[in-house]
């Protein structure tokens, strides 16, 4: 940390400017947060982003549609399949392709598994942010099972490139249902165990309850979406309010918090894991036989036009705006990244908080810098 001192104009006391990051271990990536403190209280903060900027949106303009899926993998590198899905849905919408049933179910199963894996990572890392070492070990034990299942289906643990325009890459392996069942049984126990481990821990409650609260109205004004918005008591989940893919067929609840503080943001995600497991169980039960991909050319060339597609990624409203000029590369790809929008509310959350809570508040938004900077 670098420290600078400036004189407070009103009362002549000295404000400290503290530079947190870009190499700070708890900023979850390369992210710099400049904080001004008066004693222990944060009076002003200023996030600096762009350290991981790779120009993905610009590169998209020179790649084929099928190659862009690999770029979306690398935007939200914890919820890869959800990212891939957003782009594929956008391309399918502009081309008016009808995706086979089986492919839709496979997508939902894998995306929800990915959501659980992502929230598990959040759970573990949030424990670390709060100073608890144990949760991450439990979280990784659960996440590892999901990653192994992914490896058996997609061939990769992180950068899958499995969801393709018009369907998915290849069929599920033969023993998938059985392995999925095992993973789910394991997960259900694991989620309860993780929940019991810290959610009601007195010290954890003392550190997170009432910290970094933001009201629902404020959150909406800042454009916060996903679990961070639902924690403030707003019922908004694109899977339900504006269903895409086949999410309207499943029966699940939207967990909502009350105060919008760190604990609510944490617990909404724990609850969401349970709901995701419910969705996966329903989808696995109904999984139909059939084609796994629509007949789409290898070089996709959508007609002229533009589409806007919203999906619910683990972090919130991941939307893709795609403009096609009728060639085999898009004219413009704009990604509305949930982490980027959620980050805007950070200043508000940090206002008046203790310096020691800054890391907790930052962690509770669950930022993925690859998605913020793109």
């Amino acid at each position: 940390m670098q420290i600078h001192e400036t004189e407070n104009e009103t009362d002549g006391s000295i404000d400290l400017m503290i530079n947190m990051g870009p190499q700070h271990p708890s900023t979850h990536g390369v992210f710099r947060l400049v904080i001004w403190v008066d004693g222990e209280r944060i009076i002003k903060s200023e996030p600096h982003i762009g350290y991981l900027h790779r120009g993905s949106e610009k590169i998209c303009e020179s790649e084929h549609y099928s190659q862009i899926v690999t770029l979306f993998d690398r935007m939200d590198y914890v919820g890869n399949l959800n990212s891939e899905l957003a782009f594929c849905l956008a391309t399918e919408k502009i081309m008016d392709v009808c995706v086979p049933e089986r492919a839709e179910y496979i997508r939902v199963i894998l995306c929800e598994l990915n959501r659980v894996a992502s929230h598990m990572l959040f759970y573990g890392v949030y424990g670390l942010d709060a100073g608890a070492m144990t949760p991450i070990l439990y979280a990784f034990r659960e996440r590892e099972k999901i990653q192994n299942l992914f490896e058996s289906v997609t061939g990769a643990r992180m950068m899958h490139n499995y969801i393709r325009i018009g369907g998915v890459k290849e069929n599920l392996p033969r023993d998938f249902q059985q392995r999925l069942h095992e993973v789910l049984e394991h997960l259900k126990r694991g989620i309860e165990e993780c929940d019991a481990l810290i959610s009601k821990n007195e010290m954890f409650l003392a550190r997170t309850k009432g910290v970094g609260a933001i009201s629902g109205a404020d959150a909406i004004d800042f454009g916060v979406t996903g679990p961070a918005l639902r924690a403030s008591g707003v019922v908004e989940d694109i899977r339900v309010t504006d269903p895409y893919s086949i999410y309207d067929r499943f029966d699940f609840n939207i967990p909502v918090g009350t105060y919008g503080d760190c604990w609510d943001r944490f617990y909404v995600r724990v609850e969401e894991m349970r709901e995701s497991v419910k969705i996966i169980e329903q989808a696995a039960r109904d999984l139909p036989e059939g084609d796994i991909s629509a007949a789409v050319r290898r070089i996709v060339r959508p007609p002229k036009g533009e589409v806007f597609v919203r999906t619910e990624s683990p972090r919130g409203d991941l939307a893709v705006f795609l403009v096609s000029d009728g060639t085999d590369t898009p004219y413009r790809v704009k990604v509305r990244a949930p982490s980027f929008a959620n980050l805007q509310a950070l200043e508000q959350m940090l206002q008046g908080a203790y310096l020691a809570d800054a890391v907790l508040i930052l962690g509770s938004i669950d930022l993925i810098m690859g998605e913020v900077d793109r």
Binding site: E151, S152, A156, V296, R297, R298, R301
Partner: protein, 198 residues
């Protein structure tokens, strides 16, 4: 007080027990404790070897090279000296290089190759001492491919079309040589890619 002491002794006992336990973790290169790779695991791409005619499947048609999102490969083709007596391939790969340091293991090259000539091997450890050690040439790609083929008992997905042994029907022969001139950039559908609803 008494409770504290008992707790302390209990803690010591746990430490003592784990002192003589077999470690759960393993040192990295210990080969017998590696995790098993899944059958579909995607490692670096490698070129397959046609054992029937003793030549690679790859014709050097450059389709994968144009489709690779990171442009990490180069290839050249030449006239096949074995054609037409021993092999059906009119053209054959002359040089092929993949910069594995740049490859993002996306599998697109495998999807676009019409000759079953490239596969995602299980190879994933390629630390090298030289700066350009990860630029692998045709020979090492083929040896990677051959060991992968042996390991998984690889069979071409489309044997009728892609086996190199000369056959009597002429149709398949023309198929193997025509595809190499199809330009992927032109966006023309390759064979079998015709889409009725577009």
């Amino acid at each position: 007080m008494i409770g504290d002491i008992i707790g302390f002794i209990g803690g010591l006992a746990v430490t003592l027990k784990s002192t003589w336990r077999e470690p759960v973790t393993a040192e990295y290169p210990e080969s017998d404790k590696r995790l098993n790779l899944e059958e579909r695991y995607m490692g670096f791409p490698a070129l397959t070897w046609d054992g029937d005619v003793e030549e690679p499947y790859c014709t050097g048609c450059m389709v994968c090279i144009r489709e690779c999102p990171t442009q990490c490969m180069t290839a050249e083709m030449k006239d096949n000296p074995l054609y037409p007596e021993e092999s059906r391939r009119r053209k054959i790969v002359d040089t092929f290089e993949i910069n594995l340091g740049r490859c993002i293991i996306c599998g697109i090259c495998v999807d676009v190759c019409s000759f079953d000539a490239i596969e995602m091997s299980h190879e994933h450890e390629l630390s090298k001492y030289e700066r350009n050690g990860n630029r692998v040439d045709l020979q090492s790609l083929i040896s990677m491919g051959r060991s992968y083929q042996q390991k998984v008992g690889w069979e071409p997905k489309n044997p009728g079309k892609n086996r190199g042994t000369p056959q009597v029907e002429e149709n398949s022969q023309s198929a193997i040589n025509d595809a190499e001139v199809t330009d992927s950039r032109s966006g023309e559908p390759m064979e079998g890619d015709e889409c009725p609803d577009l």
